[in-house]
Amino acid sequence: MTKNSAPRMPIDPECCPAPGDTENINSPNLKAENFQQNESMNKDKPRIGVYVCMCGSNIAGTVNVPKVVEAVSHMPNVVVARYNKYTCSGPGQQSIQEDIKANKLNRVVVSACSPRMHERTWRAMLTNAGVNPYLLEVANLREHVSWIHSAGEMTTRKAVDLVAAAIERVALHDPLFPQRVPVTKAAMVVGGGIAGIQASLDLAQAGVPVYLVEREPSIGGHMAQLDKTFPTLDCSACILTPKMVDVASHPNITLLSNSEVEKLDGFIGNFQVTVRRKARYVDVDACTACNDCVKVCPVQIPSEFENGMAERTAIYRPFAQAVPNAFAIDKRGEAPCKAACPAGIHVQGFVALIAEGRFKEAYDLIQKDMPFPGICGRVCHHPCETECRRAEKDQPVAIEFLKRYAADWAFTHPEEFVENTAVYNLKGDDLAGKKIAIIGSGPVGLTVARDLAANSAECEIFEALPVAGGMMNVGIPGHRLPKQILEKEINDIVSLPGIKLHLSTPVSLAPEVNASAMTLERLRQDFDAVFVGIGAHLGSRMGIPGEDLEGVYSGIEFLRQVNFSHLNVDLGSQPKVGKRVAVVGGGNVAIDAAMTARRLGAEEVSIIYRRTRDEMPAHDWEIEEAADEGIKFIFLANPLEVIADQGSVSAIKCQRMRLGAPDSSGRRRPEPIEGDTVTLPMDTVIMSIGQKLDAESIEINQGSKGWIAVDPQTFQTSERDVFAAGDAVTGPVSIVEVVGTGHQAAESIRRFLCGQELLAGLKQGKTTKETPGYYEPAAWDRTPRQEISFREAADRNDFDEIYLGFTEDQAVAEAKRCLSCAACSECLACVDACGVGAIDHTAVDTFEQIDVGAIIIASGFDVWDPTPMLEYGYGVYPEVYTGIEIERLSNASGPTEGNIVMRNGEKPERVAILHCVGSRDEHHQPYCSRICCMYSLKLAHLIREKTSAEVVEFYMDIRSFGKGYEEFYERVQHEGVVFVRGRGAQVLPQDDQLVVYAEDTDLGQPVRLPVDMVILATGVVPSKGADELAHKLHVTRDINGFFLEAHPKLRPVDSNTDGIYLAGTCQAPRDIPDTVTHASAAAAQALGLLSQPYVEVVPTIAEVDELNCVGCSLCVEVCPYGAPTLAENRGRLVSKINEALCKGCGLCVAGCRGKAIALRGFTDNQLLSQIETLLQFSMDER
């Protein structure tokens, strides 16, 4: 956290510790002798003066004041007891001061109004009279007695009780000396609307450093949305933007846009505010607002500034005159599809690009993370689609087919790709001169090679087989993955500079097994690091009799030989397939083997699986394809023996099974049914029950299950310079997962070779962050998922592809179904488009601690959403608008460039404006929102001026109370606006118009007026988030949610918390003139505080009696401010209070069992004296 404290004001030496003693500036030494009061005050006997105020008739009206005075005048220590008409008046105070001098009074009881009202006045009065201000007790006779009760003996007795209790209490008061703490001469304004702007400018003008915190990317608030302002019809932007520019350019103002208050500590004059600087992803200083990025951003979502009437891109500037005039990116977390992709493909990004037909950019974005777009587009198990939020509504977006379309488009448009795609994402040269040996050219080996080559390393790939591509090439049959796509994507990588491919060169890392092959030691001489990506090419064996017969293959070998024949590699002939083929196993390899066998001429192919359809690990759409092609399924059968007839396979004997309890993987364990076996005539048997590592070829230790053991995060094996990933480590998984591990392994190798810490900053696995408010489209289009075209089962007898892919229109239509969950799709198009490189998608929120002396809340208001009032049909009938929406229509920079038109573009002929929508209404907002009448008049004027339509306003009262307001009302009447005195009751559709139902209460007749547009003059509610802000700043709010002022009439800009002030509509609805006045008042109040050299902090804080403290640390645990700590005192641990942190809440005092902590001003004895006096005094003889 960058410490950004304001410049300290030169410390006034007189009142605070010597300058230079800065380190404990926050906890200055608080010796009592800082003050001049003489010490002897509290030693001698208390001499109390009791004054009962009549407060005009406010108290005397119901309390017999003389009798009260008479009743308490004989109490012990009472020297003077008097009543007067107005104690708080000048003469009232003077008479008390004279009494003090004359009778050497050292304690005073004032019985009048609430201490929250005038306690400060009485304290000042005592100080001037030379008495310690805390030798005072106030009895609240007005708010708690006279105003509440009717005149009578009981009321007087209550008054006597309270005064008597105050007398007993004040006798026990000790003099207290308020702490003096220096004031940080800086202020923070929360909220950048016109109120915040005005307050900031006033403070800055007075030389106070101001921190303006605005949560939106730009200041301006709701005023920036307005077209004209009443009553002068000034253009809102014309009078607002200059002030906004002043804020930006004022040397004393630090503008923290796109930021929120996170936490508040400290107290009046010494606040420490933690501000969250939300990530903006655009460098404000660098951005020149040239708008180039907007041109390339594929995302369109409704603009909040335009109230949803127009769309904006993900990277946006709220409005043209925004301050700071820079762009921001609307990122709402990681899109669920991107988060689910093991390879980290920017899924929402390429889908958005496809939706705009920008296929080249889509392909480039995919291949940044996925080296094999074409392959992955065909065989991926697409976890992204399972996470797609569209699945909740109807079906997920067909992401896999879209990726395939982009790859096929690239395949058919080579001219678009001048250089090899893999080249230009060259990342750096920190591996220049480094040589890495990569064993195995499967998807993981190629990914690692490409990633390292991108850092200019030299990679040599050693492939045992005669063809590259590993399982992609030899494991997956042609009908699923055409060879030409495979070839292109492998060549794209292998042809990269820095990558050399050696085919048919097996590498054995086990010296004793194959002496001739390359060994680890010899590799180490030439290479700096070794990567093992040899996959799992051995088929597991069942170990049943007859498994070695000719005609029995393992699924892997069977597919490999078939693929070899397609690649005209003559390594052994193409496997012969009999009429009846049995494929044992339930995984994808079994399905591929079965469908391949059928294509090789088998008449009847059946898959034998020991569980049922639901437990089959293969993807269900692949099982579907196999079933379509007539492949039979024999479930709950487990092969026992392959029976031979004259040396060749004739049948297979299977054991019938039934399902028992689920095993560790959750799948139900198959149990044999005793004695129930079946023999099926077969000519060929393909065992596809799993894959194994070719263990002999490698001596690096293997984990328990026979796979290579690696560190799960760094992929480093037991040998320091040997890394491994892919099927050889994890067992057979999908290509996208393998590529994901490939990226991580390559990064580990890069760090290893650069000598960096392997583990630094690695995320602990892919934890899906909690979904932070994904974008939710208001209107909901129900377009179903596009159907991909595919060849009918009947004519699928060759190895041509089954799925034929999307057409261009299908791809674009399907891509448009994307919900833009994370708003910004991270397609990174803007990054390239930005001339000054101002965009950084990896930015994160940062925090700043700012020290200020005063805080002004200017959080503003929101327009109330009238949807709950079904009778008006807002959101149901398109031609029902709120006032702010009409402001945007009539605003020249708005969606319709200032023409007030209906949704269909035509000018309205008759418009109705309904007043008091949601305001002055018990069911919604009981208060009057003050601004709707005037802005309705203004809108009426604008509509008449721009469309000359008839305008009818349905009102109860027109509240045109301000300067020039009534004249404006008269002018609007002149302009022909009709006013019907009757609240709009409901709006119903009729033909293509809307009918407003009301009663013309002047005529007493029903009105059913058909109109073209209805404008609802909705009221004002506190801004969203005001409640969290209130909790963070510990400020109370009123019944309606607005911030509560200290006193409605006398202190309208102070909050109840000292040092925090309220400006503008956050405190109550008000129009712009009142808001500006209110804001300037708040600034003035804050200046009043900040201009003082020090501030007196409440002295009623805790005090420990070390002798009695047993050191049980209860107080330490219970204190919200961490004031008490256990400290050494005469060989014992005893509690010690840090007086600067203690706020005097008394939690520790009440909790301490041994009563070893006292709260100055609220000690146990003082409270006990009040209790006893109150009970004793009003004891009637029952």
Binding site: E871, C916, R983, A985, L988, P989, G1004, Q1005, P1006, V1007
Partner: protein
């Protein structure tokens, strides 16, 4: 007193504490903004000579003469739209009823003949029709296997209500519900002749004094059945059992659960006790005023409809708490039948605009008003009750 002739308001006719003396909720009435929302929300305002808003003005000023010369309060269907929308939260509909009590109680107007007859019918024959109360279960005669033996004691007691019992047009409702209950083997009982009219028509007519006797009988009969739950298909009976009886009788059984048929059906659907077959039809749902706007039950009927496969539910322009009255409430029928007809016609047109072939409601009185209105105004839409469509769905699930 025609509209033209001004009656000067002076101390001869003004009586500012008239309303308070007569027991009106004056502290609330005085907050009236005279904004006209109640008048323009009223389904029968078009037929009134003095708008409801103007009536409060007269009441507040205590203009007894003017009040007794208008018939506004006789046209109030007590549909509660005014109370729901009144920005000051004044109980406008209840005030209308209190004015009726005042007018009849103080004889400020001769009791309309129809209301006198209604009173004698209900007090003597214990039902609205004046038929023999013992024939309350007449609707069950043409049931294929009849009612079977009616148990004295059961978990659920079904308070059928006068309209379902005596109006042939409404017979389909009890007939459907009894089959539903039997198919879901619910332990229920009926009170037959022992069931008297709940008295709601007398309450709205302003003659609530006669309701006490009915309440005492009905409650004691229900207690006798030992039922824990009482269900009824009529929204007005539901309101009476839910609010009027508990306020009227101190010994009302607190633990007796009062459910409208739609709530009970929703519970059966939720607990999977009803197997609903497909009904391929577009329907719209009408919120009965006493069920929706007065008692806040909007979702249960819709939950049942949405669980019928193949059924498309379309909302009318007015729905939920913004619903429009069918015109059948408040005995307006007895006072001015064509007002009722126009009001129900407005609602039926709205239903037609949705393109629905059925207008489903959950109150026998609404169903009866709509059926009559549709026939009279030749509007091609069929009014049915929720129980009927549920029964149709159950029938289809069986086949």
């Amino acid at each position: 007193m025609g509209v033209g002739q001004f009656n000067i308001i002076d101390d001869t006719n003004i009586d500012l504490d008239f309303a308070e003396v007569k027991g009106f909720n004056i502290s609330k009435l005085n907050t009236c903004l005279q904004c006209g929302t109640c008048s323009s929300s009223c389904p029968t305002y078009f037929a009134m000579d003095v708008s409801p808003r103007k009536l409060w003005r007269m009441l507040a000023l205590g203009l007894k003469e003017e009040i007794s010369q208008t018939d506004t309060f006789w046209l109030c269907t007590s549909c509660n739209s005014c109370t729901i929308r009144c920005p000051r939260g004044i109980p406008v509909a209840d005030t209308m009823r209190e004015i009726r009590e005042l007018i009849l109680g103080e004889g400020m107007q001769p009791t309309p003949e129809a209301l006198n007859r209604l009173r004698t019918l209900i007090t003597e024959s214990h039902n609205m029709m004046g038929d023999d109360n013992e024939t309350r279960l007449i609707w069950s005669d043409n049931l294929p296997e009849g009612l079977g033996e009616i148990k004295r004691q059961a978990d659920v007691v079904w308070f059928v209500g006068c309209v379902s019992s005596f109006y042939p047009m409404a017979y389909k409702i009890p007939q459907s519900l009894v089959q539903i209950l039997k198919k879901s083997d619910i332990d229920f009982t009926l009170m037959g002749g022992r069931e008297w009219c709940c008295g709601f028509p007398l309450v709205t007519a302003g003659m609530s004094d006669a309701v006490n006797a009915l309440a005492v009988n009905n409650v004691s009969q229900v207690i006798a059945t030992g039922a824990k739950t009482l269900i009824t298909t009529c929204a007005s009976c539901y309101h009476t059992w839910k609010h009027i009886y508990p306020d009227m009788l101190s010994h009302f059984p607190k633990d007796l659960e009062i459910l409208h048929a739609s709530e009970y059906l929703a519970r059966l659907v939720a607990h999977r006790q009803l197997s609903l077959g497909p009904v391929e039809r577009i329907v719209t749902y009408h919120d009965p005023c006493d069920l929706g706007k007065r008692n806040g039950i909007f979702d249960e009927p819709r939950f049942v409809l949405e669980n019928i496969p193949g059924l498309e539910l379309r909302e009318m322009a007015n729905h939920h708490q913004n619903s429009l009255c069918c015109g059948g409430g408040g005995n307006v029928e007895a006072f001015s039948p064509d007002t009722v007809n126009t009001a129900s016609n407005n609602r039926l047109l709205q239903a037609q605009q949705t393109g629905a072939s059925y207008i489903v409601s959950a109150c026998q009185q609404c169903m009866r008003t709509f059926t009559g209105g549709a026939r009279k105004n030749k509007i091609r839409i069929r009014a049915i009750d929720l129980t009927q469509i549920v029964y149709e769905a159950i029938e289809n699930s069986a086949s």
